[in-house]
């Protein structure tokens, strides 16, 4: 039996999947940011009771957590010491020497995660051609480590220049340090991120060191709680940002890989579902309380980026570069913006209506929650337009006060603009939508794809409410609302593999097959060690190799998959072709005569798990359709239209309907615009298609 627990900012979602019967049990309980392990255990016990299973049966647990991201955002991190090459103590202080905002004179950079007096300089130097120019001074090193130890640091990060070529110096320091520190508290950059570009490598290593104690404590407090429930047998895996999962022991070693593990899960779910539905190109769109996120799925495959900024601030479309801490680790490519159900509508200095990126969050939340929210939000706009109803909001668990929505929208928007509430509400939504369109475009067009060729898979509490409107604006004709959209990230957790990533910077021309293959072999060896450690039998071992390639004059790389683990001349030609093609796709041109260089080689080691079977609607639901046929008036930009209202749980496989319509379920509401039809597939997914082509 598999249990997925996804801890989000507002709610902790739990799904129990009974493999024998192919049944899903779901639950949603409020999160507890102070002690996330409490709802974790409560939720686990509750779902077992709910489904009538015994504690013994819970053997496989997959967890998505925000603990790493939150601790960095809140500055709740360890006291980190850092060792760098002599002459470079300010690598983190200076960073890329940029300010996060061009014009805001008062907007400073985030304070470095390492105090400047906790940076030690090591006498050593390796050159760009891998030669030791200055051998490591052991005595001086020891003195530096001792100095830091005296300053009571919790953890130590070590990052020397060119250590990705020559890790020996870092290893020596690691050994010296491990004599004075807990082994789990020493991190060297050549293990954490053995890639070139010193600032990002150092930043990643420091983040690992900064969050490590927190992660170790969290995992052990979960273990203690499981133990108290006599559930020591539970095998827990934690979702990493690259779309796979790690055993807890590896999560402790690579804590920086846990950033954004929740959103990554949603995209994994979307990838699995799009394979099942034979959808070639899917935009996976997740809209929650404070942010909207979008990932791209091509032919059922996830797309990756290699760098991310944690703790960064949002502006209207995406994150503000330079406002967070760079982390380099293979991540599912997700673009996000500050648009969610709780995003606040406000009027700027010039008199334009803006929405977000500030959010009312969960507390006080939108005005309609009645918890003292004084600002109109996206959710309030939906309430005004009759799209969200109190009977239906979170299964009726939370009361909704439409009069409060109206009050704040009138006061903050209607009065200054001299417009009616409905117009204001429509305005709020269309602006929130254009903000989200920017990220839908950024991820597709900027990567060389045409969004019109995609299906939009929308989930998260608010995704299904916005999906058809967004699709219409970006000329997408097919929207998919998966079954259980409100818990889709947890479903994604159930679809994950056990996987880890290995990387090596090699910097050679692509034509050097010998060196190329040797490097792959080195990574394969590392992967085999990992497989052994995780008890994966040889048959179940799967490896994927990719390379970061560029024209030798460039300084940005494209990540290209390699056809085999051992390459022939012919394979090289295939790879070259793939690169030219990808370059054209991404940037509109390629240079057939230019030399191609391999920067990094990446190998992902994977162990597959049996995926959940999607529910089959034919077998169970036999409710007569007639019962659904209620109507309700809902506002659209075209005016007030009578919508058919359906309860999603009663819709049978093959059921068809026509917009305008509203489909309500426990965790979410789907809005279907006029001009769109919908149909329920045999798994219970909603397919919404446009039937009138726009002129």
């Amino acid at each position: 039996m598999n249990i997925a627990i996804d801890t989000g900012g507002t709610f902790t979602d739990i799904i129990l999947y009974d493999m024998k019967k192919s049944i899903f049990w779901t639950d949603k309980i409020p999160s507890n940011p102070e002690n996330p392990e409490n709802p974790f255990i409560d939720g686990l016990i509750r779902i077992l009771k709910l489904s009538g299973h015994s504690k013994n049966e819970a053997n496989n647990l997959i967890h998505g957590t925000t603990i790493v991201t939150n601790s960095i955002i809140e500055g709740n991190v360890a006291k980190v010491g850092l060792l760098v090459t002599e002459g470079f103590r300010d690598l983190l202080e200076i960073g890329r020497q940029q300010r996060p905002d061009l014009y805001d004179l008062k907007k400073g950079r985030k304070a470095s995660l390492v105090r400047r007096d906790l940076v030690g300089e090591i006498r050593e130097r390796v050159s760009s051609n891998k030669k030791v120019i200055l051998p490591l001074d052991k005595k001086q090193s020891l003195a530096q480590i001792k100095t830091l130890k005296k300053k009571n640091i919790d953890t130590l990060a070590i990052s020397l220049l060119f250590s990705f070529y020559h890790p020996i110096h870092e290893r020596i320091l690691e050994k010296l340090a491990q004599k004075m520190f807990d082994k789990r508290h020493v991190f060297i950059s050549s293990r954490i991120s053995p890639e070139f570009r010193e600032f990002e490598r150092t930043s990643t290593t420091v983040i690992a060191a900064a969050v490590a104690p927190k992660v170790v404590n969290y995992i052990s407090s979960i273990r203690t709680k499981l133990s108290a429930q006599v559930m020591d047998h539970v095998r827990m895996r934690i979702m990493h940002s690259g779309g796979g999962t790690l055993e807890t022991i590896e999560a402790e070693e690579r804590p920086h890989a846990l950033i954004e593990s929740g959103p990554a899960a949603g995209v994994v779910g979307a990838a699995y579902l799009s394979k099942k539905l034979n959808l070639n190109q899917v935009l996976a769109f997740d809209m929650g309380g404070t942010t909207a996120k979008v990932g791209m799925v091509l032919k059922g495959k996830l797309q990756y980026s290699q760098e991310y900024e944690v703790g960064g601030e949002f502006h209207h479309a995406g994150r503000q570069r330079g406002s967070g801490y760079p982390v380099r680790s293979p991540m599912i490519d997700i673009v996000e913006c500050g648009a969610g159900a709780g995003s606040i509508a406000w009027i700027d200095e010039g008199g334009h209506l803006k929405v977000g990126p500030q959010s009312a969050g969960a507390d006080p939340g939108p005005a309609c929650y009645g918890k003292g929210g004084e600002n109109p939000t996206v959710a309030d706009a939906h309430v005004i337009l009759g799209r969200l109803r109190k009977e239906n909001f979170l299964g009726g668990k939370l009361p909704i006060y439409p009069d409060l929505s109206e009050k704040v929208i009138k006061r903050n928007i209607c009065v200054p603009f001299n417009i009616k509430p409905v117009k204001a509400a429509l305005g709020i939504l269309s602006i929130a939508n254009t903000n989200m369109l920017r990220i839908l475009r950024l991820i597709s067009i900027a990567r060389g794809y045409d969004p019109r060729d995609f299906a939009l898979m929308a989930y998260g509490g608010a995704g299904p409410l916005h999906a058809t409107e967004l699709a219409e604006m970006i000329s997408i004709n097919h929207v998919v609302i998966p079954f259980m959209p409100g818990l889709f990230s947890s479903f994604g957790l159930l679809c994950t593999e056990l996987s880890t990533d290995f990387v090596e910077t090699i910097m050679i021309p692509i034509t050097r097959i010998g060196s190329f293959n040797k490097a792959i072999t080195r990574l394969k060896k590392k992967a085999d060690v990992w497989f052994e450690q995780n008890g994966v039998i040889i048959k179940a071992r799967k490896m994927e190799v990719r390379a970061d390639l560029r024209y030798s004059h460039q300084n940005h790389e494209l990540n290209i998959s390699l056809p085999h683990l051992s390459l022939t001349k012919n394979d090289i030609q295939i790879i070259q072709k793939r690169f030219h093609k990808a370059h054209t796709k991404a940037y509109g041109h390629y240079a057939p005569d230019d030399k191609i260089q391999i920067v990094n080689l990446r190998l992902r080691a994977i162990k597959h798990y049996t995926k959940p079977r999607l529910p089959n609607l034919d077998a169970k639901s036999k409710l007569p359709v007639a019962k659904n046929a209620k109507t309700r008036l809902v506002w659209f930009k075209e005016g007030r239209l009578a919508c058919q209202v359906f309860k999603r749980s009663t819709l049978t496989s093959g059921f068809r309907g026509t917009g305008p319509a509203v489909i309500e379920e426990k965790e979410s509401t789907t809005l279907i615009r006029i001009g769109w039809d919908f149909q329920v597939d045999r798994f219970g997914n909603l397919h919404i298609r446009r039937h009138i082509q726009k002129v």
Binding site: Q97, D101, G350, F417, N418, A586, A591
Partner: protein, 587 residues
Amino acid sequence: MSLKIDAITSEVVLNTFQSIAEEMNVALICSAYSTNIKERKDCSCAIFDPTGHLISLAENIPVHLGSMQGLMNEVGCNPVKWKLHPGDILIANDPYRGGGSHLPDITLIMPVFYAGKIAAFLTNIAHWADIGGCAPGAGTAGASTEIYQEGIRIPPIQIVHNYTPQNNVLEIILSNIRGRQEREGDLRAQISSLYLGERRLNELFKEYQAKTITRVTEEVFHYSERWLRKALRKAPAGTYRFTDIMDDDGTSEEHIPIEVSITISHQNRPSISFDFSGTAPQARGGINMVKQALLASVLYSVRAIFAPKIYINAGFQRPIKIKAPQKSLVNASEPSAVGGRTDTCQRVVDVIMGALAQAVPDKITAASNGATTAIIFGGTQRLSGSDFICIEALGGGMGASYSKDGMDGVQVHITNTSNLPIEALEMEYPLRVLRYELIKDSGGAGQFRGGLAIRKDIQALVPMIFSAHADRHTVSPWGLWGGKGGKSGQFLLNPGKSQAQRISSKVSGITIEKDNVLSAQTAGGGGIGSPLEREKEKVLEDYLLGKISRRHALKEYGVVIKRSGKINQAVTESSRKKKKELERDKP
């Protein structure tokens, strides 16, 4: 329909315009060849309406707007002359005939047609690592005395006709510059970025009618105009003056004054005007600004001081008036050299900050490092025998503001280029970085401290040529209201050695022998308020973090720090008291 409702529609369309400019920028950065564009993002993109008014800007470098607007003005005032058709792209860089602000900034412009008429113009700009001239990177070096020495001048000319590159033009350009392969790649990236923008604009025009777009852009202009006028109304009306001095122009040691008189008026509609009368005549050395560069510097300052979050467009420019004497340092004429104009741009911003300190003290900063400190190494790779040019622009200290210390080691004001990773630099060029750090005690003391300067020591592994332009090597950045100035910068050859040698701030093509080390040190930012008012704990913290020395703490702040790392409270009190009395007694 009321104007207010248009405020919602126009926000939606504005968002789309902004998104298009951003996408063009992303595409340009990703596909360019040279590190200068890719790693340092020394490029920008913009969209103009058919009459040449700026609609939307995705900028990495504020000063870039000047050149894009400049070329737009050249082309926009006579579109017939250019016989523009769909798929045509013009290229230019000339400050005197092509709207540019210095030669290495290559600007491209493309008309976008809808229903047979020009519906918009797209532009992008990228700083090329070389543009020919008397030495590698001469276009940026600032040591020339005539623009002819700075590289090839390109007046507006068709580089693409009907989506086909014009190879004859391309060949002339590429034959005049170093590293042609890389430049060709950059140009291709610039062209592709325009094509992407054209595609997206066409979608937008199809979705909204041309009429709606015109109405929306007009509303968007009003919107930014309203915003700025509102902000100006909050500032006290009056005339504010300030003068600052640049080190020299590289040809002599004579100081060069920049003077401004700024008038904020509340009459009719609030407006702000800048008069640079009193500024030095155009210089012999290459630090001159043409009017486009001045425009960009003023627009940056107004935005940063009065409305950092505003959308910059033609409407934003309406309340702003600029007057600068002809043939002056800030409004130079042909054939003045302009390669090092960014140092002057930075100083213009400082001067504006200094003047407006009297009007809006809480919105400005004290003087920042006041230069762009571009250092350029060029030569031949030992192994491959191919030419290389490596350009680095170093940040420095930012001036303190009314309630905050200035940022340490950062790019300020009109530039925001990132550094090149040390590992990337060493893999690509025969150079080795020995030191890259903040300079202790370089931030101007004050209740709020100026930011620390940067030091970068680079060793030449083969003999090579060095060029540079910088400033604030002799005249240090000023503080305000009792705040001290930041430490000046310097270039040192072989620092710490007996044959250490100071190199002036503006040089072109001096030889650096193998294994010699060039230490580039920028200036720190100025402080604000009396250092004696700075909280003792903050002084101690700066000391503990190694940002100031014990001596500096005592001398500037009157804070006595014991060897144990604690403040000697009693002695500090009396030392600060004594210093305050001394200060009071000063005339």
